[in-house]
C-alpha cells in the first residue's frame, strides 16, 4: 500500500504551485493515502495485450483552415482580464535574476 510522507506532499505541492499550510499538508497526506489505497485495486487487473486509452472519439488529426475568424472580441477586452497591465502588455513579476 502506498504511503506518503510529509516530504512527498510538500514535493507535490511544489510541483503543483500550491503553498499549503502545515495543517493542509497533514490533511492531504492522510486523504491522498486513503484514495491511493482505494485505487490500489487496479494493481491486480489483468491488462495483458491491451494498450492505454487516450481518447474515445476515434478522431484523428482534426484540421481546419489556417484563417483568422472574427469573434468580435478586441485585444483590449482580453487584456483587460489580466491582473497586471502596462500599455498593451501583461505585466508579471520579474522572472530572471
Amino acid at each position: 500500500m502506498a504511503q506518503l510522507s510529509r516530504e512527498d506532499v510538500l514535493k507535490l505541492a511544489r510541483l503543483a504551485r500550491l503553498a499549503l499550510t502545515d495543517e493542509e499538508v497533514e490533511e492531504f497526506r492522510k486523504e491522498l493515502e486513503g484514495v491511493l489505497q482505494y485505487i490500489d485495486m487496479l494493481k491486480d487487473a489483468d491488462v495483458s495485450g491491451l494498450t492505454p486509452t487516450t481518447q474515445v472519439t476515434g478522431l484523428k488529426n482534426v484540421m481546419r483552415d489556417d484563417q483568422v475568424i472574427d469573434y468580435g472580441i478586441s485585444n483590449k477586452q482580453l487584456l483587460a482580464l489580466a491582473p497586471g497591465r502596462q500599455d498593451d502588455l501583461i505585466k508579471v513579476k520579474r522572472m530572471i535574476g
Binding site: V35, P52, T57
Partner: protein, 475 residues
C-alpha cells in the same frame, strides 16, 4: 404539476404571439426570487434576459420567425461562459470573471430564441456530488431542504425541479448531470462524448467532460440536444450529429427492445430502497414487452478507481491555467513570480480543487505514471471492450444511477473517498464515452430514484426513444 408547458409548445405559443417572451422571463425571475432559500442560483442575468425577450417579441410582432426555442427561459450551470453575469464555476479564483465571449452551447440556444435567465450553483469546478464543494454555498434538495440535490450540476437540477425554468444546462464528467437528476427527480441526459461542443465551458477532465440538459421530460431533453448536437470548429473533439436528429417520433414502442441489466450494478453497495425501485422498473419494462437479459461487465467494479486516477490527472493539468497572471484572481503582495503563482492558487482554490490537483500531480509524476496513470488508462481500454461486447448482445444497458437516494447535507462531507463513492454507478459510461440518460423511476421513503439507461456511442437517438417509452411506463 409544472407551470411550464413542454418546450416545443412554449416556443410555438411565442411564435404565434399567444405568449410573450417578456412574460415568460418575468415568470422565471419571479420563481427564482420565490425559491431563493434553496440557493440553487449564483446570479441572474435579468437585464440581458429582459432585453432579449423584448427583441424576440418585437420580431414576432413583425411576423418573422424566431426559432425552435423562442422565448424559452433556461438556466446555465455557472461553468458556462455567458454574457450578462460573471462566470465563476462556483470558485473564489474565478469570482468576478466577466467572460469576453459565450460558450458555443449558449450561442446555439440563443440562435433558436432561448433566453438564459440565471447561472446555477455547482461544486466548484464541478468537483463533487452534492454542491457542498461550492466555494459559495450549498444548494438544498427541492424534496427535502436538509438534503443535498446531488452534484456537481445540483443547482441546475434543483432549478428545474423548483420550476424556475423548463430546462437547465449541466455538465457531466463522472455523473454530474445524472446523479443530481436521480436525487431530485429530474431527467438528466449525458450524450455521447463529443456530441456537444465544449467551447466556452470551464474544463474539468477533458477526456470525459460532456454537456447536457436537465429537464422534466425526455421530450424536452431531446429537443435541447437536437439544438446543441454537432461539430463545432472551436472544439476539435466534436463528432457529427445524427442525420435524423434527436426528436423522436411518437408513440415510442419498447416491445422487442433488448435491454441488458448490468449484474455488477446490483452487487455490494446498492441500498435496498434504490434496488426495489429499479427492480420494479425492470418488471414494468418486461410487462411492456421489452426483452430483459442479464449482462456482466466484469471490470465495472474497477471503474471508480480508474476514474479517480484519470480525472484528477486531467484536472491538475486543466487547472494549471489559473496562475494569477492572465485572468481571474491574483494575489497582490507576492515578492516574486513563484510566490504569485502559489499564493494565488492556494487562496483561490478550495479544498477539493487542491485535493484533486495534488492527486493528479501524484499519479502523473515521474516514478508513479506507469503504476497509476498508464495502468488506469489500460484498464479503461478493458472496460470499453466489455461495453462493446455487451452492445453486441443487447441494444441498451440498464442500472441504477447512484447507490442511495439524496443524502443529508454534511453526511459525506468529512471523507473525500465516501463522497467519491457516490459516483460509482455513473463513471463507467463516462470513461467509455457512451450516452446515458436518467429518468425518474419512483421514490424510496419520499425521495426520488432515477433509472439509468445506456446505449452504444452515437446511439443517442435510439436511447432517447427508449427513454421516452420507458418514462411513460414509470410515470
Amino acid at each position: 404539476m409544472s407551470q411550464w408547458l413542454p418546450i416545443a409548445h412554449i416556443a410555438q405559443q411565442v411564435q404565434t404571439g399567444r405568449l410573450l417572451a417578456a412574460d415568460l422571463v418575468e415568470t422565471a425571475l419571479k420563481t427564482i426570487t420565490d425559491k431563493l432559500e434553496y440557493q440553487a442560483i449564483i446570479a441572474t442575468t435579468e437585464q440581458r434576459a429582459r432585453e432579449r425577450a423584448a427583441s424576440i417579441d418585437a420580431v414576432v410582432a413583425e411576423g418573422k420567425p424566431v426559432g425552435r426555442l423562442a422565448g424559452v427561459p433556461f438556466i446555465a450551470k455557472d461553468n458556462f461562459l455567458v454574457f450578462g453575469a460573471n462566470t465563476t464555476a462556483a470558485s473564489n479564483i474565478l469570482k468576478g470573471f466577466d467572460a469576453p465571449y459565450q460558450s458555443t452551447a449558449i450561442e446555439l440556444l440563443e440562435r433558436e430564441g432561448a433566453i438564459c435567465v440565471a447561472k446555477a450553483n455547482l461544486d466548484a469546478f464541478a468537483h463533487g456530488g452534492s454542491t457542498e464543494n461550492s466555494d459559495f454555498f450549498t444548494t438544498k434538495n427541492p424534496h427535502d431542504p436538509t438534503r443535498v440535490p446531488g452534484g456537481s450540476s445540483g443547482g441546475s437540477a434543483a432549478a428545474v425541479m423548483l420550476d424556475m425554468v423548463p430546462f437547465a444546462l449541466g455538465t457531466d464528467t463522472g455523473g454530474s448531470i445524472r446523479q443530481p437528476a436521480s436525487f431530485t427527480g429530474a431527467v438528466g441526459y449525458k450524450p455521447t462524448y463529443g456530441l456537444v461542443s465544449r467551447s466556452g465551458v470551464v474544463a474539468m477532465a477533458s477526456s470525459t467532460d460532456v454537456i447536457g440538459p436537465l429537464t422534466r421530460t425526455v421530450e424536452d431533453a431531446a429537443l435541447v440536444i437536437d439544438v446543441l448536437a454537432g461539430k463545432d470548429p472551436l472544439d476539435s473533439t466534436t463528432v457529427e450529429r445524427d442525420s435524423s436528429g434527436y426528436v423522436a417520433e411518437l408513440p415510442q414502442d419498447i416491445t422487442g427492445k433488448k435491454i441488458g441489466v448490468v449484474k455488477e450494478y446490483f452487487e455490494e453497495g446498492l441500498s435496498d430502497g434504490v434496488r426495489e425501485v429499479i427492480q420494479a422498473s425492470i418488471a414494468k419494462l418486461k410487462d411492456a414487452g421489452a426483452i430483459i437479459e442479464e449482462i456482466s461487465l466484469p471490470s465495472l467494479p474497477l471503474s471508480l478507481a480508474v476514474y479517480y486516477v484519470v480525472c484528477p490527472a486531467e484536472v491538475s493539468s486543466n487547472l494549471s491555467r489559473y496562475d494569477g497572471q492572465r485572468f481571474a484572481y491574483s494575489y497582490g503582495n507576492a515578492a516574486n513570480l513563484e510566490e504569485s503563482y502559489s499564493k494565488t492558487r492556494s487562496i483561490g482554490f478550495g479544498k477539493e480543487a487542491k485535493r484533486r490537483i495534488m492527486m493528479g500531480t501524484y499519479v502523473l509524476s515521474s516514478g508513479y505514471y506507469d503504476a497509476y496513470y498508464r495502468k488506469a488508462q489500460t484498464v479503461r481500454t478493458k472496460l470499453i471492450q466489455e461495453f462493446n461486447e455487451a452492445f453486441k448482445q443487447v441494444d441498451f444497458l440498464l442500472g441504477p444511477t447512484a447507490p442511495t437516494t439524496a443524502f443529508k447535507i454534511g453526511e459525506n462531507a468529512s471523507d473525500p473517498l465516501q463522497m467519491y463513492l457516490t459516483d460509482v454507478m455513473t463513471v463507467g459510461p463516462s470513461l467509455v464515452g457512451i450516452p446515458a440518460i436518467v429518468i425518474p423511476a419512483g421514490t424510496s421513503q419520499g425521495l426520488p430514484v432515477g433509472l439509468q439507461l445506456m446505449a452504444a456511442q452515437h446511439q443517442d437517438r435510439a436511447l432517447l426513444g427508449l427513454a421516452q417509452g420507458t418514462e411513460g411506463l414509470l410515470a
